[in-house]
């Protein structure tokens, strides 16, 4: 039964991917490509779909990891302040004239910000030789408020046009996606996914509690650190690719648990696939709904995601770690 569902799940994801590539304001027939269409496909559509896929995969898997590590169904990568920290870093970078990397300055600043915040949250969550879930969560929430407040402050005192653009970009915009950032970002996502998948048995054990995890032969603190590092790598890569797109990290693990169960060995890869497909779909809707205007993908994910999340909430025993 579960195998059948898994098959349907993969087929649905593949169909969405194909749809995202060939549908849109301009439909492309993959069997009859004209020169312009080939140009659109390879220079615009494909990198955009790849970026959406990578971001969604990173966020979906990160959410699955974090909900398990924190043993909290409400956790997502942004609750730890990674998004607001990245936005703040991007804004600060632009204000202080950080144009060192040219057009890549914003993504690079965002990546540095996200990584620094992850380290900071980890430092606050660290006590007696290990990371403690409650401390991590509370530290993250505290830092999130702090960074959002400082960002607000900066926005209200500055008239810098660059700053405004950076902040808008941070809300999740895939329209500028091109090939430049894909190789380094995909390396981070692959490494993060690899670590998480390799340690997925340990994550299962951690979900049962530290005591069972220890009894089953796992070094609890080391495993938690691995998982946190995998999450931080993927989230930072995602933020630098296209800003902070909400709801994927929170929602995807819940949908996958509902359909395929809680075993992390399935949950992590399936949340990644679901996240990738979902963001491709959201982006497709965002650019097709009222062309030539584009809706930011983050808005679309929230508008589709929030009602579905509330629907799941009504179903018994779904919203759990």
């Amino acid at each position: 039964m579960r195998t059948v569902r898994f098959g349907i799940f993969i087929i649905a994801a593949a169909m969405i991917l194909a749809l995202a590539l060939f549908a849109g304001p301009r439909m492309i027939n993959p069997f009859h490509l004209s020169g312009t269409e080939r140009e659109i496909l390879f220079a615009i559509r494909l990198p955009r779909v790849v970026v959406a896929m990578l971001m969604g995969m990173a966020l979906g898997a990160s959410g699955a990891i974090l909900q398990g590590v924190l043993r909290n169904p409400l956790a997502d990568p942004y609750i730890l302040g990674i998004s607001s920290g990245a936005s703040l870093a991007a804004a600060l970078g632009l204000m202080s004239g950080f144009y060192f990397f040219g057009s890549l300055s914003v993504p690079v600043a965002a990546f540095i910000g996200a990584t620094l915040v992850s380290l900071l949250v980890g430092a606050f969550g660290w006590k007696r030789g290990g990371l403690w879930p409650e401390r991590l969560l509370l530290a993250g929430i505290g830092l999130n408020f702090l960074f959002s407040a400082v960002l607000m402050l900066l926005m209200s005192v500055s008239s810098d046009e660059g700053l405004r653009r950076a902040v808008l970009w941070m809300f999740g915009d895939l329209s500028m996606a091109d090939w430049t950032l894909i190789p380094p970002a995909s390396a981070f996502v692959v490494v993060g996914l690899g670590i998480a998948f390799a340690r997925s048995k340990a994550l299962n054990a951690l979900i049962l509690g530290d005591e069972f995890a220890h009894s089953l032969g796992f070094a609890v603190q080391r495993e938690r650190l691995f998982m946190f590092a995998a999450m931080a790598l993927m989230t930072s890569a995602s933020v630098s690719l296209g800003g902070t797109i909400g709801f994927i990290g929170l929602l995807m693990p819940h949908i996958v648990r509902f359909l395929l169960g809680a075993d992390s060995r399935v949950l992590i890869p399936a949340s990644a696939v679901a996240g990738g497909a979902f963001l491709c779909l959201a982006d497709l809707i965002g650019r097709s709904l009222m062309p030539p205007m584009e809706l930011p993908s983050g808005t679309v994910t929230a508008v589709i995601g929030a009602p579905y999340f509330l629907y799941l909430l009504r179903r018994k025993d779904v919203l759990s770690v």
């Binding site: 979900i207 049962l208 509690g209 220890h214 009894s215 089953l216 032969g217 796992f218 770690v321």
Partner: protein, 258 residues
């Protein structure tokens, strides 16, 4: 030639422990357990039962003293190797993930590269959950959940079980069944058990009892010698009487509770 080891399989020597910033929870405690031995660990709330079991499981590091498993220091074991010899069963089970019964029981095989003989379905059957093997643990009652974890412990196959109040939340039927199941494993496989308890009547069923007060041993030995009215008064601060029943059991009696 090789010699057969016949000493204690788990030994605590002068072990002390304190939680950071607190008084000593365990104070120069020493005891050992031999192959196939069952020990009931009895003491009032906060007497240090759980801490002693966590120290013995290698989950906490003693401030002083050392712990030896099969005559080798406990920290010298690799985690996975230790898990095949020694298993800890926590007091609180709070799992709210929709794992199925079979999935959780299967986690008992994580320490192994080559699975041992018992299959997941056999273990599930042994705790009487055969019909619910595919059910989500989140839909089971407290007692049923406990049996799921008992099945996981069985399949993990460790020779030493450190059980922290495993009978809590269990109906009396399953309390008796669980104790008999352990007895059967003792006879078949020679497992050893240290079980934290706070029910004196259950402790009276054990051949060996260790009575704890404030992290020190008040008495260790057969229930007849350790669980006297006077010792129980010391450990629990309550006056009771130990009676033999006509049917061969022993139990405590107390004046009307309220």
């Amino acid at each position: 030639m090789f010699s057969v080891y016949s000493g204690p399989i788990l030994e605590l020597r002068d072990v002390s422990y304190r939680y950071p910033g607190h008084r000593l929870i365990v104070d120069k405690l020493g005891f050992s357990i031999g192959n196939g031995e069952f020990i009931g660990l009895l003491g009032a709330n906060g007497s240090g039962k759980s801490t002693i079991l966590k120290l013995a499981a290698g989950m906490l590091y003693p401030a002083a003293g050392d712990i030896r498993l099969w005559d080798k220091p406990l920290p010298a074991y690799r985690n996975k190797d230790r898990a095949k010899l020694l298993c800890y069963f926590p007091q609180h089970l709070d799992v709210n993930a929709p794992f199925t019964v079979r999935e959780i029981v299967g986690m008992g095989l994580y320490p192994y590269d080559i699975p041992p003989q018992m299959t997941v379905d056999e273990a599930v059957e042994m705790v009487g959950l055969g019909e619910k093997a595919g059910a989500y643990v989140t839909n089971l009652s407290g007692g049923e959940r406990r049996r799921v974890f008992i099945a996981m412990t069985l399949i993990q196959g460790a020779g030493i079980l450190l059980l922290d109040e495993p009978l809590a939340n269990l109906d009396i039927k399953y309390q008796i069944e669980f104790l008999r199941l352990l007895r059967g494993l003792q006879e078949k496989k020679g497992i050893s058990v240290i079980m934290a308890l706070h029910d004196i009547n259950v402790a009276l069923q054990f051949e060996k009892v260790m009575l704890i007060k404030e992290g020190s041993i008040l008495g260790i030995g057969s229930p007849e010698t350790v669980l006297t009215g006077e010792m129980i008064k010391q450990a629990f601060d309550v006056a009771v009487e130990i009676r033999k029943s006509d049917r061969g059991g022993t139990h405590i009696t107390h004046e009307r509770w309220f």
